[in-house]
Symmetry: C2
Amino acid sequence: MPYFDAASAAPLHPVARQALLAALDEGWADPARLYREGRRARLLLDAAREAAAEAVGCRPDELVFTSSGTTAVHAGIAGALSGRRRVGRHLAHSAVEHSSVLHSAAAHEAAGGSCTEVPVDRFGAVDPAAYGAALRADTALACLQSANHEVGTEQPVAEVAALCAQAGVPLLVDAAQSLGWGPVPAGWSLLTASAHKWGGPAGVGLLAVRKGTRFSPQGPAGERESGRSPGFENLPAIVAAAASLRAVRGEAAAEAVRLRALVDRIRSVVAERVPDVEVVGDPVRRLPHLVTFSCLYVDGETLLHELDRREFSVSSGSSCTSSTLTPSHVLRAMGVLSEGNVRVSLPPGTAGADVDRFLEVLPGVVAEVRERFGAPVSASAPPSPAPAASLVVDALGRRCPIPVIELAKVIEEVAVGATVTVLADDEAARLDIPAWCEMRGQEYVGEEPADRGSAYVVRRLG
Amino acid sequence: MPYFDAASAAPLHPVARQALLAALDEGWADPARLYREGRRARLLLDAAREAAAEAVGCRPDELVFTSSGTTAVHAGIAGALSGRRRVGRHLAHSAVEHSSVLHSAAAHEAAGGSCTEVPVDRFGAVDPAAYGAALRADTALACLQSANHEVGTEQPVAEVAALCAQAGVPLLVDAAQSLGWGPVPAGWSLLTASAHKWGGPAGVGLLAVRKGTRFSPQGPAGERESGRSPGFENLPAIVAAAASLRAVRGEAAAEAVRLRALVDRIRSVVAERVPDVEVVGDPVRRLPHLVTFSCLYVDGETLLHELDRREFSVSSGSSCTSSTLTPSHVLRAMGVLSEGNVRVSLPPGTAGADVDRFLEVLPGVVAEVRERFGAPVSASAPPSPAPAASLVVDALGRRCPIPVIELAKVIEEVAVGATVTVLADDEAARLDIPAWCEMRGQEYVGEEPADRGSAYVVRRLG
């Protein structure tokens, strides 16, 4: 049963499992205690810290273990912002960071700080010059992920780090998606990661803070992990996390080549065999194992469900699969289609045959879902006999992908040069109607306020 | 090799180990995902929540899992204080709470809030009336542990809860030490606990918040655990924690009777066989498995080391075993001796024979350490031939237990009614010199400022 959602969580690596079992016996005691069980636990903790620090490329005393990647980010951002409070209260970050960064930024703004969100291009990457321009005299911290968790695009970390160094601003790199594949380019001041993304157990994140970086831990004081991560160390899991990081790094070079080729195959075959699809993210500067694409006229939740029925586990940034019914902020920031969105992230060891089977199954599943939604058949409608001047389509109360389907159905009923106005109150329409225009070569005129929802105006070009 | 420090961490319960192994295979995926691995994880998480809620005595939707008991306390206090910010910013707590509560209180004060520390009696218990008197119109939250982690004394939770209810103040009960033994008396509004204290794995705490309790989670927003605990759920560990809570509860009634008898035996034999010892904590209203005593003229670290050499693992609240070189705040609040302090906390299943062996070994070890420190032999010194009027002993720069030893050595050199003044700059002297007076029937006159450290004045009564 192929599991293609390694970017959410990877199954436990066999080495992690082994290390966890051993550490359950040897490492359950309090490493702060002086008796033999405590000393044994301390030895295990020290060894895990050394192994993790080596993989990260820092000194052991620069690295602490947290309870997750999210808490590492929260603690890292809060501590760095507070450590440089005298410099200012400005925080810079890209528009496509993980929610833990965005939520930290929102909390910072709510507490009176200010933030600049650096936009990304259509591939999801920041422009180093634009990032550099966001740095100000009062910038306390800059945040940039090593690679994006939804579309796999690598960020220009080395270039941004150089600009940060020039400006004297510490850079926090969220390396959650990439650390298993290799170290982060030099130049970071803080680094965060999450063990269950590299085949370690849940319950372990890591936060590295370079010596010399001003850092003032926030929240109630704590005695453990240099006061940077509260609570009793999750020791057996920490031991397993460090062991599996070392193990996946040993396999990373060869596995990256193999998965990169599989992802290239997915990228080209999906574009070829699925009509009206947008494969997103940078095709070259990207994580080896991750690819994302969006299918016009498709409901993401139904698509996931149908793939799950055929035993493929993938995730989606479509609005219908989110608890807030808004499309992924990453796809939104990139300005790409969000409906029918599928993220495929291959765990190490994925069989090529499973990818082949996925590629065989996918086109039929997409076609089936489209048919169920009454989607227009791609580029095959006969020209309308009597073109109308312009049209208004009422899609109020209808959820993604219906507003786009309704638009596609009527676009050829208006004359070239005339407009179709779609009334919609589904959040996804704001992203998907312009994306549809881009894909179908029509002109997106703009959005106008309406009594309910918004009016999206599209001009027929061809 | 007898491990007698269950109050720090208990070895993994066999049921927890089994559940953990099963959940590593079935519960590694993201429970928020829609595919089969995610649904399986969700089922495990829901079942664990139900089991834990049943043991706690609350509804499943009132309970979230955190990454430790400490983070549960931090999140619980911060959320409750913020939820009632309009009422006021006053926090009440006992003087003997766990450091996670005291650190939260300190953070609250640093942020402009106010706190009242309710004192305890010589057994370590709060007086309900005194606790009630600490509640004010602007009290946002009251905190009280179910039982003390260092001396085992149970707090009058039901009585304090009734007074809190009367005053309309929510009560947070830190049940870290007692939850494995049974539910907390009714009346709490928030409850926290820690799995590795009941034989679950590290990395799991729990926070229950009764419906109707105003609660506003602090820190960056989160999507998981009702927004009350950030980061990816530590699912296999959560499953193991819930399973072991159920298992230890099943064994608790019988095991409590057995361990209570063993602890009674320790309490009486230690008092009988070890001269100049103070067995502290309530002898009756206490945890079944925990006892603490302090030995005059003994260095705690040396004592622990010698016991460890004889394969007994115990902990200590002596200043010399703490990183800050201050005695345990619990012993300080109780006003009892801190030097030569030993906490014995028996894990379930402790063999009576191991306890017997401990009781055989202990008196010799204490005598040996005392001899090494040149401690006076108890109550056997011949009356001094020529009593001096009064004496000053300079113990500056000397660490616990030396100042008390020096005092004991000279007390019979002064006349009855005359004083000995001990100059000392070790923090422990402030607690241990009055405690020594209490134990030896001498009068503690008081502490006076000195050029360095303090001058502790003692009057010889007999």
